[in-house]
């Protein structure tokens, strides 16, 4: 049974959206409703008291004829002024501050709702005056009351309504900033590889994830030690192997000294070649491990490519002479570019050595240096069997050797070249010859600094 796929924890931003936004909305709505209820009770109670006091004061003095100043519609409906009506025992409206209002005399005394003939809703307080059946009614427009309550409520919840988006905006910023910190941290972690294992600086890391980063730094430290241990092991092993190889070499030389060479092929020659091959392999191993020593990364400097190629060819001429291979060069001096000479030499030497080993005896190796837009190209072309396209990537693997080539290589030269090329940000391609003949064309592309594709910044800075 396969385990269920791990559920991804939603992002912080999603969590904030999902939880805080509804919560804030609910709180805002609830506080609006509560404010509305509170203001309604407050205003209605206050107004009811006012209406009762007013009605009773009119009812006390009904002996004199009452003269009431008429109110405008705006007074009644917008300013909420009270309408007073005085009714005679005969049921006639003797005085009204709103002459146009048509509202029947209320049957019941006290506070109540009423509706006028024009469809307006009113709150009313009716008082029977003395023992007679005179009556006083005080009315207030419900339109005004509703408007008043709504206005008050809105004023009360206004600040809350403003606060919610402000709060969300602040939260959003905080989350964005901390996730930007996390993204920067992720970039730092992604920049670490076997060549770069320095600890991550804790200064700009958010406090909450400092323990995580500290543990990660611990892991980096242990990795560094492991890599270092591995490098030291390879170096020690290579050094230790040299002693028995030296002993074998001396034994062969001593044997050869003692007996006259037999007619035909001397078996000692083949033994000698085998020992030579073991020595070459040990040398390459050592070079590889020394090269991997990140501490040895030298600072970049302006490099004269032609001089470097000249040195490289000079070093390889011993092998060329032994195998009677003609080495030719074509190209002009080009403007210096920045790089680490040791690494560049490592790339040139390895590729040239490769070409000289795989070209048949008496063959030809061509080295070319030319400039193209924004980059210098170095090409090394040989007469050898070439490499099938399917294998051109695999030959960079350590100890991989093209099957059936029969050449005494170590299988390390090209991986040494590639490692150095990668450190320097160089392009390294193996191609078929462009003139249609069999052979390999190794092309090194050296980008000019300033195109943003120069040697890796960490190396430039040392």
């Amino acid at each position: 049974m396969s385990p269920p796929p791990p559920r991804r924890t939603p992002s912080l931003r999603q969590q904030i959206l999902r939880r805080l936004v509804p919560l804030h909305l609910v709180v805002a709505i609830a506080s609006g409703l509560i404010s509305y209820a509170v203001y309604r009770d407050l205003i209605e109670d206050f107004m009811a008291t006012q209406m009762r006091v007013l009605a009773e004061s009119y009812a006390r003095d009904l002996a004199q004829p009452v003269a009431l100043a008429p109110l405008s519609a705006a007074d009644i409906h917008q300013r909420g002024q009270f309408v007073v009506q005085v009714w005679s025992p005969e049921g006639l409206l003797v005085a009204s501050s709103a002459p146009g209002l048509r509202l029947a005399r209320l049957e019941r005394p006290g506070l109540q709702g009423a509706r006028s003939a024009d469809g307006q809703d009113w709150r009313a307080h009716a008082v029977p005056a003395g023992r007679s059946t005179w009556g006083v009614q005080v009315l207030q427009s419900k339109t005004f009351l509703r408007h008043e309550i709504t206005t008050r409520t809105l004023f009360a919840i206004g600040p809350i309504a403003l606060l919610v988006p402000l709060l969300l905006w602040v939260l959003w910023r905080v989350v964005n900033q901390s996730s930007a910190g996390l993204r920067a941290l992720a970039g730092e972690v992604a920049a670490r590889d076997e060549h770069r294992l320095d600890p991550i600086a804790l200064e700009r890391v958010p406090q909450e994830i400092v323990p995580l980063v500290a543990s990660f730094n611990g892991l980096l430290r242990r990795l560094t030690q492991a890599f270092e241990g591995q490098r030291r092991f390879v170096q020690d092993a290579a050094h230790e192997l040299r002693t028995p190889i030296a002993a074998m070499q001396l034994q062969i030389d001593n044997l050869r000294e003692r007996q006259a060479p037999p007619p035909g092929e001397d078996p000692l020659d083949r033994l000698h070649a085998g020992v030579g091959r073991a020595a070459h392999l040990v040398d390459q191993l050592l070079r590889l491990s020394v090269q991997e020593d990140a501490a040895r990364a030298a600072p970049a400097e302006p490099v004269d490519l032609l001089a470097l190629v000249r040195e490289s060819v000079g070093q390889c001429m011993a092998l060329a002479d032994r195998r009677r291979i003609e080495v030719g060069f074509e190209g002009a001096p080009c403007a210096p570019l920045r790089g680490v000479p040791a690494d560049l030499r490592s790339v040139f030497d390895s590729l040239l050595d490769n070409a000289l080993r795989y070209t048949p005896e008496g063959g030809q190796v061509e080295v070319r240096l030319r400039e193209r837009a924004g980059e210098a190209l170095i090409e090394i072309e040989d007469d050898g069997p070439g490499i099938e396209p399917a294998l051109r990537e695999r030959v960079f693997d350590r100890f991989f050797r093209v099957p059936g080539s029969g050449v005494a290589g170590s299988g390390l030269g090209l991986s040494i070249a590639r490692a150095a090329a990668q450190r320097q940000g160089l392009g390294l391609e193996l191609l078929a010859r462009e003139d249609g003949r069999t052979g390999l064309l190794a092309r090194i592309r050296l980008p000019r600094a300033g195109d943003g594709a120069g040697p890796r910044a960490s190396l430039t800075l040392g």
Binding site: Q249, E257, R258, R310, G314, M317
Partner: protein, 219 residues
């Protein structure tokens, strides 16, 4: 002539004894640093082969103490550690020469002869490692043991080519080494010199690398 071998590895030690005995050296072999001190103190050796990785006392220590005592016996350091730092370090503390494992018997014997000759003061310094060398005192070329007199320009040209082993020098580089500022150089001056040199040293002694320049054949 007596040689002292300081080597803890049995296989190498035995083969070295065989190789040197065959060349008429009389050989003493010690296997650690303390015995090496004792041997150096009472024997007069023409040459010492010193391995650096020794039990009980490191080879570097043996060499340093011997030099502090004023012992001037020629010492060739033999070691598996052949990084540049190791080589420089050994030469600094007083080794006469340095040989990295593995090495060929011929080369070892040649270097032993060379340090002995040098210590005896009999040999003038020779520049170069291959077939063609340059005697810096007599200003003669030495080809397969045969001496050839050189003109001043020929000497300067060969000197430039032999200064660094494996060096390839372009026409411009050779001209700037041979001729002063403002000196008129005819376009075929270098070719004329090279033709002359090849006549004296043999046609294969100085070889052209097409497009890059000239070099001295290494062997």
């Amino acid at each position: 002539m007596r040689a002292l071998i300081v080597e803890d590895d049995e296989m190498i030690g035995q083969e070295l004894v065989k190789a040197l005995s065959h060349e008429a050296w009389s050989v003493d072999w010690v296997r650690d640093g303390q015995h090496a001190h004792a041997a150096l103190a009472d024997g007069h050796y023409a040459c010492v082969l010193l391995d650096l990785g020794l039990p009980r006392e490191d080879g570097t220590q043996v060499l340093r103490r011997a030099r502090q005592r004023g012992d001037l016996t020629p010492v060739i350091v033999i070691t598996a550690r052949a990084q540049l730092d190791d080589r420089v370090n050994s030469l600094d503390i007083g080794a006469d020469d340095y040989l990295a494992k593995p090495f060929e018997r011929r080369e070892l014997l040649a270097r032993m002869r060379a340090v002995v000759r040098r210590r005896a003061g009999a040999a003038s310094p020779l520049l170069g490692e291959g077939r063609v060398r340059l005697d810096l005192l007599t200003r003669e070329a030495v080809v397969d043991g045969r001496r050839e007199a050189l003109t001043a320009r020929e000497f300067a040209l060969l000197n430039a080519l032999l200064e660094r082993p494996g060096a390839i020098l372009s026409r411009e580089q050779l001209e700037s080494r041979l001729y002063g500022w403002g000196e008129e150089v005819s376009s075929n001056a270098i070719d004329v010199l090279l033709t002359g040199l090849r006549r004296k040293l043999g046609p294969e002694a100085i070889r052209n690398v097409r497009g890059l320049g000239w070099r001295v054949a290494p062997a």
